[in-house]
Symmetry: C2
Subunit: 410 residues, 2 copies
Amino acid sequence: MELDAVSIEQRDSADPLAHLQQLFSIPDGVIYLDGNSLGALPKNVSSVLTNAVEEQWGKSLIKGWNCHNWIDLPSRVGNRIAKLVGAEEGTLICADSTSLNVFKVLATAMKLRPGRKVILSDTGNFPTDLYMAQGLKELTGGDIELRLVAPEEVETALDETVAVMMLTEVDYRTGRKHDMKVLTEKAHSVGALAMWDLCHSAGAFPVHLKDANVDFAVGCSYKYLNGGPGAPAFVYVAPKHQATSGNPLTGWMGHDAPFAFDLGYTPSAKTDQMRVGTPQVLAMTALNASLDVFDHTNLEALQAKSIELSELFISEVKRRCPNLELASPTDPMKRGSQVSFRHEQGYAVMQALIDRGVIGDFRAPNIIRFGFAPLYLSFADVFKAAEILEEIIAGDLWDKPEYHQKSKVT
Amino acid sequence: MELDAVSIEQRDSADPLAHLQQLFSIPDGVIYLDGNSLGALPKNVSSVLTNAVEEQWGKSLIKGWNCHNWIDLPSRVGNRIAKLVGAEEGTLICADSTSLNVFKVLATAMKLRPGRKVILSDTGNFPTDLYMAQGLKELTGGDIELRLVAPEEVETALDETVAVMMLTEVDYRTGRKHDMKVLTEKAHSVGALAMWDLCHSAGAFPVHLKDANVDFAVGCSYKYLNGGPGAPAFVYVAPKHQATSGNPLTGWMGHDAPFAFDLGYTPSAKTDQMRVGTPQVLAMTALNASLDVFDHTNLEALQAKSIELSELFISEVKRRCPNLELASPTDPMKRGSQVSFRHEQGYAVMQALIDRGVIGDFRAPNIIRFGFAPLYLSFADVFKAAEILEEIIAGDLWDKPEYHQKSKVT
């Protein structure tokens, strides 16, 4: 079916989520297909943050810890994220970075499975998760084995040597999505624990941590949750593991009574044991504000729109750039909210796109990656992006020296 | 010598740092003696942060990592802090929390001293530092001993079993200050490494990490550096240890080439190896702005004023409240920028003070604590605070039920 601008306009008119776009600040002339890397700015964040700085910090000073309840931001923000990933109240806190939360969870998991030494992961996992496992192994004297298999081999690689299966639900390059429920069940059937990294899941589509019986989860808040660059991450601990004191990063905020200033550490019996240092008040306040947009919709509706947007993009790109190889699964239920293609000169192609206002990103060696954040993208955006991609590919417009100069962050 | 309001006014008129107060936003009617817990708001922070949100994040989106150089914020901000603590360019980065940085440093130090198992610290250290050592010990299977001695016994407790001496320069309760140079030298003389926590030092008085030949240092930025509630911390690695890959929190930002997305971890050969996850862009931008006030003065001048303020406070309190016991050293060179007194009902006394606009804080069991941030305090503030303290003590004004109700954060 060939589409034209009119029929696309009709789809936007009929889109029940179209009104959400006005909650975001998107620069003119930009089609932003990189919300899977850094979410766009929700318009309410700036004034909330200004208030936190000028009124809360500026006027309440130290009293802010009590009168603005800064001290509970990790659980207050955590509980809002919990609702978006199908987690129970009180099981998820906002803290530190995803990498640090991976470390806390892996150490806890290894402690819960003392006879086992394997951390099972896949080669599609985001590298920092693997690095944290390597660091833990190195520190603990090598009594850990990080076993890496191809993503499609995880299920068969699960055996009774595995202490914890550590997977990122959505592959950051291809968008390939694991079946969380099936793999968690399989992990449990061999006595392993399941830890999921939701960096590319949270805020993009429904996640059901409780229903899938997941043991631990981590994730960042600066992608589909739009928390801002470097926004604090989150960590989930299933109720059955709440009383486990496995987090080796035993900072005062994870203490059962931080303000008793005891010389010895006694872990909190709640998810708070995953806290370490003083909470990042300003950053968490920004994130808290950014979560407001989710009060206006639900993740089923967002996923439905995401699938429509990505299917439209794939069909348009297929038609317009038949030589571009799709790197993502064709079945939308097996993808996250992103679509990737392969092009030998992917870096330069992406620079040419960015130059024309279509912002996606590149992942080595040859992946051009497009994220579909249904909160603020229209069908017209996606249609236009495919048109511009066609111009660049058909006209070899990427073949300019300036598009080949790598920047610091690629 | 008895002082009166006129002579106090003369001291303020003659104060070469008096003009700095106007760089801060201090609420009317407040005498803020808690800058040692949470620094006051520098007036420039709010607009800088608004710009980072609206212009940088909002308009540059993902491109901000390159075009606003977000990726280098840890070292850019770190280099500014380095100047304030006598550290060499490139040796200090801004990252994570103090607690997490303690963990990184302790693990690195233990690796550098493989035959030794003692972490020597004192009972005056801030608990979270001790907790992190306990967590590291627990995780690594117990081959670490955390040896705690009284602060005055550290020097004699240093022996050839000690891998690393971990001290906080200024005691958070009493303000007692260790001699960094002497103790570091003594640590080195027995082959131990020296790690200093500068939470109550950085921004308050001169610190000379390089001159004192310190191996590692950590500290927070929300006290005398005025970075805001929960602002990111810092970590210093002496040049001779730069190439050591001892940080077990091996996140992608500490990798030698984070954007190569290798499956295996290769540590950066620079201080960057102490980085873990994605930098906290908004919080670091706020901190970066808050550091501007230090461009207008120097730490020698700040220390001189801090001593004058604290000596004035001590003499006034001694005169007005002769029964209050000074908990801080009488020699100002042996104190940080705070003064503490003991009172059996310290908590209630502090609540009564806060109720009258004099904000200090309380530390169990009986310490009332007053911080002197010379950037924004006047002699009149300090004189007035002593007057109000006298009213409360002389009139038993603290003896009301509402002053005995403990709040969540005390």
